[in-house]
Amino acid sequence: MRRHHLAGPVLAALLSAGACSGTPSDDEVRETLASWSATIRTAGNAWLQHDVPTRFAGDVLSAAGDALQGEEESLTGTEHTMLRGRCAELRALIQPMRDAISRRDDAALRKQLATLALFDARLRSEERARTGP
């Protein structure tokens, strides 16, 4: 009987922990977005300078795509529409970058990195507007 009394709260705590861990806060998603955006930019620039192998740069882009898809799927409800949109926008930049890298097309990758820089600037200005000066 006593075991049942203990099992209830323990199970509830574990389930609530699981439930919480499935729904990151908006701040966490913004941080993840900015982090993957910076990761993609750094890996792309390193590939242009021949500092990292092609297969590694491709793998970073795949990992970024998977992580962003996970974030997007975790954002349910209309209040997250804008953040979901940003995740999708960044994800949309990934495939052309992968194509450019697999074709070893430096010029195409530079163009995509310039688009990524614009995306980053927009993220930063939204962050400033949200948190104040």
């Binding site: 910076a38 990761t39 390193a46 500092d51 990292v52 297969r55 793998d59 970073v60």
Partner: protein
């Protein structure tokens, strides 16, 4: 000092430096730097002091008593008591072994883009093969010496010229400005990575394997403090490099690929391959040590034949122990556990179980039946006990909070 003794000390210090970093210390330090700047350097300092104390004690214990920690625990406290640290350390060490195999696989994934789970069995096989065919000296000296490649982090930290006042302020514990649960979770993960009981249990077994006696006490002290101090500095260098390359760009570490970018700024292509080599060799070296530590713990505690220098047929149960441990660790990766999350969680769990492994050992270190005039002083008892209890309390509080916070 005789030339032979000097050579022994030099070899020992280099081995300790090369063997200090492993996937846990690398990734916890990198994540701490990327998330909190220099603010968690104090945890590395505290962990290093505590580990150096424990390593020195375990070497002294082996040299003076001729016992390993595990067999003395069983002798002093009895088999029923010994089962508690055996189970607690056994479970945590298998998770730790899985994390180290995961580190090897992650390095191979970064180098080849072939997914981690495909590398799990080859990595396990390589680890097992070296234990099956190799000798203690080859594993301790040879592989740990290769670990000197991790000095690349020290070189990178120097080239990046960190702000020394920022570094110094990080050595003093301070409260986090945000994400408190994650801050304390990382602090205990750093402590757990530094003070893994498998390491100092392994060290005492090494002392007995190499037939140390009282004449090794002074050498052991220099090797323990010298090697571990330099190793701790390397761990600090990982954190500093992460601050200046990852945090500076807003990169947090959710994936091993992100950590692999940390040496690009100062060292470019060499930095990339230096990271891959460091992660692979450091994890490989630690996987060998942890697998052996598990087998030592079981065999010594249960009174079986043991010895890495014996042929497997002469200590069959010992050899079966590390074989099973390695393949259980590999299976955890094959079924798809995320090695980065596994690493951080295992390091925190190590902190939570520290008192079970360390407190009975401290009792042995104060028992003059084993150590005669070489028992511990008050200061070393106090430093180790304080660190271990703080790490345990913080772990018990922060692990559920980190899980709840995602």
């Amino acid at each position: 000092m005789k030339p032979k003794q000097l050579l022994e000390i030099t070899l020992g210090v280099f081995t300790s430096i090369g063997g200090f970093l492993e996937v846990g210390s690398m990734m916890t330090a990198a994540q701490a730097g990327a998330d909190f700047g220099y603010q968690l350097l104090w945890a590395i300092l505290l962990g290093t002091i505590c580990l150096a104390s424990l390593i020195e004690m375990s070497g002294r214990f082996a040299a003076v008593s001729g016992h390993t920690i595990a067999d003395a625990l069983r002798e002093r406290f009895g088999l029923h008591f010994f089962i508690v640290p055996l189970v607690a350390m056994g479970v945590v060490s298998i998770l730790l072994l899985a994390a180290e195999l995961g580190g090897m696989c992650a390095a191979l994934q970064i180098a080849t883009a072939v997914a981690i789970r495909w590398w799990a069995m080859p990595a396990a096989l390589l680890t097992w093969l070296l234990l099956w065919r190799g000798t203690f000296g080859m594993i301790e000296k040879g592989v740990s010496m290769l670990g000197l490649v991790t000095v690349v982090f020290g070189v990178a930290a120097i080239l990046l010229a960190p702000d020394l006042s920022g570094v110094a302020s990080g050595l003093v514990p301070s409260l986090p400005h945000e994400k408190a649960a994650h801050y304390w979770f990382l602090a205990v993960s750093i402590l757990g990575a530094a003070i893994a009981p498998a390491v100092f249990y392994f060290y005492s077994s090494g002392g007995v394997e190499e037939k140390w006696d009282e004449s090794h006490v002074a050498t052991n002290r220099i090797v323990a403090w010298g090697g571990i101090t330099f190793g701790g500095i390397l761990s600090g260098a990982v954190l500093i490099v992460a601050v200046l390359t990852l945090q500076a760009r807003g990169i947090t570490i959710d994936h091993f690929d992100q950590a692999a970018l940390m040496l690009l700024d100062p060292l470019h292509r060499i930095g990339f391959w230096g990271f891959v080599a460091s992660l692979f060799i450091a994890s490989f070296s630690a996987a060998l040590e942890v697998a052996l530590a598990i087998a030592y713990l079981i065999a010594q505690g249960l009174g079986w034949n043991w010895g890495e220098d014996l042929k497997p047929r002469d200590d069959a149960r010992f050899s079966v122990s590390y074989t099973v441990a390695i393949f259980v660790g590999a299976i955890l990766l094959v079924v798809g556990l995320d090695p980065l999350k596994l690493t951080l969680f295992t390091m925190a769990l190590t902190s939570a179980t520290l008192p079970i492994a360390v407190v009975p050992f401290l009792v042995l270190m104060n028992d003059d039946a084993y150590l005669g005039r070489y028992t511990n002083g008050y200061l070393s008892n106090a430093v180790v006990l304080f660190t271990v209890l703080v790490a345990c309390v913080l772990a018990v509080v922060s692990i559920p909070l980190e899980l709840a916070g995602g």
